[in-house]
Amino acid sequence: MDFENKTILNNKNITLLQVKNLKVYFYLEEGILKAVDDVSFDIGRKKVLGIVGESGCGKSVTAQSILRIVPHPGRTVEGEILLHQNGNLVDLARLNPSGREIRAIRGKEIAMIFQEPMTSLSPIHTIGNQIMEAVLLHRDISQSEARELTLEMLYKVGISNPHQRIDEYSYQLSGGLRQRAMIAMALSCNPSLLIADEPTTALDVTVQAQILELMKELQREFGMSIIYITHNLGVIAEISDEVLVMYLGKAIEHANIDEIFHNPLHPYTIGLLKSIPKVGKKARTRLEAIKGIVPPPLDLPRGCRFYQRCREAKEGICNVDNPSLIEVTKGHRVSCFLYK
C-alpha cells in the first residue's frame, strides 16, 4: 500500500485521479442496489476518459461519488478515490460529504456538467450570478473582477454577446447556449478535472457537434482532464483517449480508444459495437443484437453479470464466479473468463 502510493506520487505528473475498488450502494426498501460494485480506474493528466454503458450501469453514480454528491439513499460503502493535488494525495472517499475539504475541491479542482442544461441551472437566478458565485467561492477576487472573469469565460465558450447574456436567465437561452453557460461555470475556476455526465444527450445533433468541438478546444486551452460519460459510442469515439465500459455496476473493459473500437475483448463490448447501426455501411442489413435484457439490478444473478446474455458464456464457470478485471495486454484490462 505504502509502496504503491509512493509510486503514484512519483508519477504525479501522469496520474490525476485514482479510483480503487469503489462500491456505492443504494439502500432501498426493496433491497440493496449495487449501483457501483468494485470499480477501479485511473485517469491521467490532460486525458479524456470516456465511460460508456447502458442506463443503470452505474456510470453516473461513479461520477457523482467522485464529487461525493451521490443522492440519498446511496452511500459510498468502500473504496478509495485518490486525488493528486499539488503533490499531496487526498482520499475523497474518506472526506465528510458536506465538510469543508470536499467543498474546497468541488468546483475548484473537480467541476461537473450535467445532461439537462435546463434543469441544471436555477430558473430564478441569472446566468452571471450562478457563474460568479462559483468564482467568488474559490478565488480571492472582488465582485467586479469576478464579473470580468465571467464575461471572459462566457466569451470563451462561444457565447457571442456575453454582456447581454450574463444578466439573462436560463429559460431565455436555447439548449446549446445553456450547456455553454454550464461549461463556462465549470471551467471558471480552472479545474484539473471536468466530469461531463451525458452533456450532449439532450441536444440536437448539430448542437452536439458544436459542444463536442468546444470541449475539445477548451481542453487544449485549459489542459484539464475530462471524464466523459455517455451511452453514445459515436460521441465516445469522437472525444476520448481511453474508454471504460461498464455493465450493471461493474467495470468490464478498460483500454485506449483504438483498442476498444478495433480490438474489443469483452463479449459485451463486442456486442455493443456490433449492435449499433453505422453510417456508410450498406443499409438494410441485419444488426447483430445482444440477446435478452439487462437483468433488474436488485436481483442480480450469480457469477458474471453478463452471463445470461453472453454468446461465449460457459456454464459452470461464468455463472459461478465473478471475473475480475485483469490486464490482458498493456493498458488493456478486461473482466472475462475468456482471457484468463
Binding site: G31, I32, K34
Partner: protein
Amino acid sequence: MRNQQFRKVYKAMKNNKRKISAEEKLYVATQWQLMRRKFKKHKLAILGGTTLVIFYILAIFCGFFSPQGIYKQHSGYIYAPPQRIHFFDEEGFHLRPFVYGLERKIDTITFRKIYIEDKTRKLPIYFFVRGDKYKLWNLYSTDIHFFGVKDGPIFLFGADKLGRDLFSRNLHAARISLSIGLVGVAISFILGCIIGGISGYFGGMADMVTQRVIEFLICIPTIPLWMSLSAALPKKWPPTKIYFGIVIILSIVGWCGLARVVRGKLLELREEDFVMAAKICGATSGRIITRHLLPAFLSYLIVNVTLAIPNMILGETSLSFLGLGMRAPAVSWGVLLQDAQNVRTLALHPWLLIPGLCVIITILAFNFLGDGLRDAADPYKL
C-alpha cells in the same frame, strides 16, 4: 462493519428468492389491487378509515346505539357530568362494567348544584336492554338499545341544561353532520364532473368561461357567503328542507375545486400517448372515455372527494353553531355546540365541548384517509 453489510446483502437476496412467486402476483395485479397494497402501508390512513367506518355505523344506527331518547328530559339530572364506567369496586374486579348513581348536592360555598357519585348505588351496564321507544330509520318501532342500565338513565357524555343525554344527542347529531358531508360532496361531485368535464373536453370558449367563473367564486370568502345565503332560508322551513337548503348552499362553492381537478386531469390525460393510440386504433370517443380516461382518473377523483368532505362538514358545523344552519329541534354537532358558546357555562360544564371533539376527530380521520389515498392513487409511480 463489512461483515454486517454482507449479511444485509445476503438477507436481501434471500428474500428476493422467496418473493418470486409473489412477484408474478404483483405483475398481474390490477390497478385497485396495487392501490390497496400501497394504501395498506399507510398506517394513519388505515386508522382514519377505521375511525370513519365506526363513526358512520354509529350514526346510521344512532337510535339503537343511544341509551336514551334524545328529547327525553331528565329533570333530576340537569347539567349532570359524564359518568365514569367502572370495572373495580371495593370488592374487586367485575366482568360487567357498571356506573355509580349520581347524587345531587348543593355546594356549600358557591351554592351551585353539583353531582357526586353515590357509591352505594351500583348500576351495572347491560347490553340489548329495553328502554325508550324509538323508530329505526323512521320504519321499525322498537325499544331495544345496544346498552343501558336497568333503572334510571346513563350519561356517558353528561347531560345538557334540560337534562337530556348528550351521548345520545351526539350520536343523532353525527347522523346529520356526517351525512351532510356526503350529500354535499355528491352534489358538488356531479356539478364538478359535468362542468369540469365540459371545460376540459371541449376547451376554447366554454373552458375560458368556466375558468373565470371558478376564479370569481373562489375569491368570495366562504363563511360570509354561506352565512348570507343560509340566512335567507325561510325560518318556517321544516328541518329536512333546511338540510337540503344548506347542502345546496355548501355545494355552490364546493364544486369549484372538484371541477378544477377534473379539468386539469382531463387535459393532462388527453395528451397521453395511450389515448392517442386508442384513437388511432379506431376506438370511439365513448370507449376512450370509459375504458381509458375514467379508470385513469377515478382514483384521483376519489382522493379529492375524500379531501372535500371535511370542508362540507366544517361548513355545516360553523353555520349551525352560529344559528344560521340546522336549528333545534334538529340536532347536529354545530347545534349542540351552540350550548357551549357561553364561557361561564363552559367552564362549569366542559363536556359541552364533546361535539367539537367529534368534529375534530372526523376531520382528522378524513384528512388521514385522503392522504393515504393520495399516495396510493398512482400505484405505477415508483
